[in-house]
């Protein structure tokens, strides 16, 4: 049942490297270069913004103002390497190693709760890998869920046994996804995972009642939390503070208010890189990670902010196209899962900076500082490229 990706070595006699790279059917020619360059541009822009947000913060940089510029760039390079590795391996081959990946992801999340885990900003979501190097296993959950659910849901359909996944399969897939999500426990990541699961179900062709059921379950869960007082008032206030900063004026409300001031004060062209008073004055918290968009808003203005939206739009547009043009359901689900992931995470991240979404600690893909997040999104790009490469050449 395994379908192998096209392998360039299968094509005739050995040619020169250049010829092989430029051949019509070569890997290089078959890559979606727009989908390579746009995330690269976002990563580069992100590096500048992270630089601006951190260069005055000696307590972070330890005196080297350029430290985060290089670290961000390095993360992007590692991310690109991971993407290339994924393309090299091919998403189809991942089907067979899927159980291994799944167990590995679970172990990593589990390790967070051992002495190896670290708490940063009140979230126990980090793992000390080496001194000064932490990873956030929850970022990999998203990849794992997408591939895992895709494997399960597409198996019978791609084998031609059924037109759509049957109920039993859908139930299995949901159970598979639910376990790591339940372990994560980080509100932002749980929200992204829920949206990814929804996207995956939609793309899999699962019966409408499953989709509807999932949406209703989410709504019911939210109502239950509200009605049974599972959250304290201050937690509710924090959640609602995005709409009314006065509810939590010293905490989240302060943050969202300062974020809004930073973005609003940018105007059309912004104050110029490194020139934002809100940014240099460090009025916005977590500015190099969760609130990175405020740096763009203040220093690069509407033009810069729109550019980021445009670049993200291009990434999503290419991803949607790849999903639509994918040749099998497995590939379709993977592409659609990545679309759901990127779209929601971007919307939530920028939306909270703009004060239209509640505050949840989620990075902006490619732009926010953070190694694990950067690796995860580039791996997703690798998956998309792999799906794209598998597509038959048009006549």
């Amino acid at each position: 049942m395994s379908v192998h990706s096209f392998d360039s070595s299968a094509y005739g006699a050995r040619k020169s490297l250049w010829a092989r790279l430029t051949a019509r059917d070569s890997l290089a020619r078959r890559l979606d270069w727009t989908l390579m360059l746009t995330p690269l541009a976002l990563s580069g822009l992100g590096a500048l913004l992270v630089w601006s947000a951190t260069r005055n913060r000696t307590e972070l940089t330890g005196g080297d103002p350029d430290q985060y510029l290089f670290k961000h760039a390095l993360n992007a390079v590692i991310g690109i390497a991971l993407a290339v590795a994924v393309v090299w391996v091919g998403h189809q081959r991942l089907r067979s190693v899927m159980p291994l990946l799944y167990v590995l992801a679970l172990v990593l999340i589990g390790l967070v709760y051992t002495p190896l885990g670290a708490t940063i900003n009140g979230e126990r979501a980090w793992l000390n890998v080496a001194p000064g190097l932490q990873i956030q296993p929850s970022e990999f959950i998203k990849v794992t869920i997408i591939i895992g659910m895709a494997v399960l849901l597409s198996a019978k359909v791609d084998a031609g046994d059924r037109e759509h996944p049957d109920h039993r399969t859908v139930a299995q897939a949901l159970a598979l996804a639910a376990l790591p999500v339940a372990v994560v426990g980080d509100l932002g990541q749980v929200m992204v995972c829920a949206v990814i699961i929804l996207g995956v179900l939609l793309a899999s062709g699962a019966a409408n009642r499953w989709v509807l059921g999932l949406v209703l379950a989410g709504a019911a869960g939210a109502v239950a939390v509200w009605a049974f007082g599972l959250l304290d008032q201050y937690q509710l206030n924090r959640f609602a503070a995005f709409a009314n900063p006065a509810l939590d004026p010293s905490g989240v409300g302060y943050n969202t208010n300062q974020a809004r001031i930073a973005i609003g004060s940018g105007g059309l062209f912004g104050t110029g890189l490194f020139q934002g008073s809100q940014t240099t004055g460090q009025f916005v918290p977590e500015q190099q990670t969760d609130f990175i968009f405020t740096v763009a808003g203040e220093e690069l203005g509407f033009v810069g902010g729109s550019l980021i939206l445009l670049l993200l739009g291009v990434v999503l547009w290419r991803a949607c196209r790849i999903a639509r043009e994918a040749t099998d359901l497995y590939s379709t689900i993977i592409a659609a899962g990545v679309v759901a992931w990127f779209a929601f995470q971007s919307f939530e991240n920028i939306g909270m900076s703009l004060g239209i979404m509640p505050v949840a600690g989620l990075p902006l893909p490619f732009v926010s500082y953070g190694g694990t997040s950067m690796f995860a999104v580039w791996i997703a790009i690798g998956l998309l490229q792999s799906v794209r490469i598998q597509r038959p050449l048009s006549a």
Partner: protein, 721 residues
């Protein structure tokens, strides 16, 4: 490249994928729209907020302008003092919030640690005074009375006193030349309140939280000019208040100076002589009450007759204006404003109101002439005037027979004016005049004389006094009838017995039923300046000055010129008039003659024996006003061609008796008149009004030409002859 058929995918998935795509792009559009809304549509608003966020201001106060007397002698000045201040931001950076440093400061300054802590704590709703009301980024003064030694200790051991500065700073100071405190006229300063900062925000002269502003007197009237514009150093700071750099800053612009018409020498004489008059009165026993006179308050005004400029203005009790400098403590404040303080903050020359007594007769005379009574006709000055069973007595119950209005003024004959008042009341329709019937000539004359309204002096909170005409009577009844009727009811129920309570009850009953009507008795006593009539000393001075100058009511002024700090711009405050006396030139001349005879042969003559009446013609009118339950108010209104002097002392007896010697001494000092009536111009403090401003040097400083101190002190300390 339509390869969808090749995917073999169902239309369900295809449709859903398209749905996802549409949803994704709507989300992006939403973000774009919101971004536009924040940055383009509301961008200005957020830019302002961001600016407020990251800029902190440190105020450099502008030196407040000096107030000079007419000779250029400073009467409100700024003095350099050594001020020890603490920077809160610096102290808060220390591990113990600067406690150790503050303890050392307290030790050096000889204060307790608690006192120091109180000085630098920030004011909020729950913090009592003392506390710091200004910006926490501003250096907070701990002491403005540091000695050079203390300041040097702090500056030399700077490493022991991080965040503490000891710098010379300008502090308001009232030098009181010749001992003339001029307290209520100068006023005082105190820190602005938040409300005032808000209010002044969008005006031409916005206030800073560290500003001191004038609270009363000329410090308040001329506050904007004197204050100048404080400089503002703007620091860009980060969230933790750490300074990142400098933003645009403004240099302080010094306040303008004010030259007043006050003559510090004359002021010293007037203050001291008024005080002496009051002390003397207290030695005398009041024949009516059998007690010594209380002489609890007094006021005196010396005004230039032809311009309305104030040469001296005194109000007793007074206070030392320097108590306000550097913040007033609660004990001192209670002394100035408490129930037992006798309210020294009041400027009784413009805020004290009392019945004028006989000095009002000049107004009645003008009203009578306007009503058709010829000035030179004769009117019966009987020993008493009867209305029904009540008999209104003449002063000391003596009659003078038929006399002119002029003689009625000279002898201060009450019965002549009683009769005029009664006749006018009858002509006006008595108790129930028809609409429009009442001409109210006597009351109209009072209003035109400037009574019942402010003179417009350049001092705040002047009061109006009142003219008790028919309209006032009705309005007053409307406002009070409820309480009167209640008192009357209560008195009836508890059948209030003898003593004042019976009198009060009777009065309340009368007022309750009839209080809206102007009674004959009201008009009769009104004609001699008694009853419900209330005037202020400044109103009487303005009116008498008008008789002196031929009829013009000038706005009394203290300020003479506002001079920019560099001395280049001089804004003179010209005399301006607000009305004319209700009398033609002839009547004014006749009244003037009559008042002259008061000083030479009439009721005031005994106080002006040996006065050189030929060289310096003096006019006077005495007044002794009765106040229910109190001793009589002494009034003396006088003028020459140059000056008008009005003095009043509450609960001190007669006009000539209590105020006479002091007024005489004031005139002696002004003109340099010796005991035998000889004029020594060399010793005259101000033989003629000073028109010119003091000399302004090219560097903007003002050159003082003070009176010789020994001359001033001699006049000031003159005994009553």
């Amino acid at each position: 490249m339509s390869n969808i058929p090749e995917t073999g995918r169902t239309s369900r998935v295809t449709i859903r994928l398209i749905g996802i795509q549409i949803l994704v792009f709507s989300l992006l559009l939403t973000l774009g729209g919101r971004l536009w809304y924040l940055q383009i549509r509301n961008g200005d608003e957020y830019q302002e907020e961001a600016a407020g966020n990251h800029v902190q201001q440190v105020v450099q106060p502008a030196p407040r302008g000096t107030v000079y007397d007419a000779r250029g002698v400073p009467i409100a000045d700024s003095e350099t003092r050594l001020v020890v201040s603490a920077s809160r931001t610096e102290l808060m950076k220390m591990d113990d919030d600067g406690e150790a440093v503050l303890a050392r400061v307290a030790q050096v300054l000889g204060m307790t640690e608690e006192e120091v802590a109180h000085k630098i704590r920030l004011c909020d709703a729950e913090t009592p005074q003392p506390c710091w009301n200004g910006s926490p980024y501003q250096p907070i003064p701990i002491s403005d009375e540091a000695t050079t030694q203390q300041a040097l200790t702090i500056r030399e051991r700077a490493e022991d006193f991080p965040g503490i500065t000891a710098e010379p700073e300008a502090v308001r100071y009232y030098p009181a030349p010749y001992g003339a405190v001029t307290s209520q006229v100068l006023g005082y300063l105190s820190p602005v309140t938040d409300a005032e900062v808000q209010e002044a925000k969008d005006t031409d002269s916005p206030l800073l939280r560290s500003d001191q502003i004038g609270r009363s007197g000329i410090e308040r009237t001329y506050d904007t000019a004197l204050r100048g514009d404080a400089g503002v150093l703007r620091y860009e700071v980060d969230k933790l208040g750490r300074v990142l750099g400098m933003a645009e800053s403004d240099e302080p612009v010094a306040g303008s100076s004010l030259v007043t018409s006050i003559d510090a020498g004359v002021q010293a004489v007037v203050e001291k002589q008024l005080d002496l008059a009051m002390k003397t009165a207290r030695q005398q026993v009041d024949q009516i009450t059998g007690r010594p006179y209380e002489a609890d308050a007094g006021a005196a005004v010396v005004m230039e007759s032809k311009t309305g400029r104030i040469v001296a203005m005194a109000s007793l009790p007074d206070y030392d204006p320097n108590v306000w400098v550097g913040g007033i403590d609660s004990e001192q404040y209670a002394e100035l404003t408490g129930e037992n303080s006798n309210y020294p903050l009041l400027n009784r020359a413009i805020q004290g109101q009392a019945a004028p007594g006989s000095i009002f007769k000049v107004v009645s005379s003008m009203g009578a002439v306007n009503a058709g009574y010829a000035f030179d006709n004769t009117y019966n000055c009987s020993s008493s005037y009867s209305l029904g069973s009540h008999s209104f007595k003449n002063f000391e119950s003596t009659g003078h027979g038929p006399i002119t209005l002029g003689d009625a003024l000279k002898y201060s004959c009450n019965t002549v004016f009683y009769r005029l008042g009664h006749q006018e009341w009858q002509k006006d329709g008595g108790l129930d005049p028809d609409k429009g019937e009442a001409d109210e000539h006597l009351y109209q004359a009072a209003r035109k004389f400037g009574l019942g309204e402010r003179t417009g002096i350049d001092l705040p909170n002047e009061v109006t006094g009142r003219v008790p005409d028919r309209q006032w009577k009705r309005e007053y009844w409307e406002a009070n009838k409820e309480s009167w009727c209640k008192t009357a009811e209560a008195a009836k129920a508890g059948d209030g017995e003898d003593g004042p309570s019976a009198y009060v009850a009777k009065l309340a009953r009368e007022n309750c039923l009839e209080g809206m009507k102007l009674r004959a008795g009201d008009s009769i006593i009104y004609a001699i300046g008694q009853g419900d009539l209330l005037v202020t000393p400044i109103q009487m001075a303005t009116g008498y000055a008008a008789i002196s100058n031929g009829g013009t009511l000038y706005d009394p002024t203290i300020g003479k010129a506002v001079i920019s700090p560099d001395g280049r711009r001089i804004e003179e405050i010209k005399p301006s008039a607000h009305g004319e006396l209700p009398a033609d030139d002839k009547t004014i001349r006749q009244i003037d003659q009559a008042l002259r005879s008061v000083a030479t042969d009439g009721t005031a003559a005994w106080r002006f024996t040996d006065w050189p009446h030929e060289e310096i013609p003096l006019r006077a009118k005495t007044g002794t006003a009765q106040v229910y339950g109190k001793q009589t108010t002494s009034w003396l209104a006088t003028y020459t061609e140059d000056y008008t002097v009005v003095m009043t002392i509450s609960q001190a007896g007669t006009g000539s008796g209590a105020s006479g010697p002091a007024v005489r001494n004031i005139y002696d000092a002004l003109y340099g008149v010796g005991e035998g009536g000889e004029i020594d111009r060399d010793r005259a403090l101000l033989p003629e009004p000073r028109e010119a401003l003091p000399k302004i040097n090219p560097d903007g400083t003002i050159e003082a030409a003070p009176a010789r101190p020994e001359v001033v002190t001699a006049w000031r300390d003159a005994e009553f002859g």
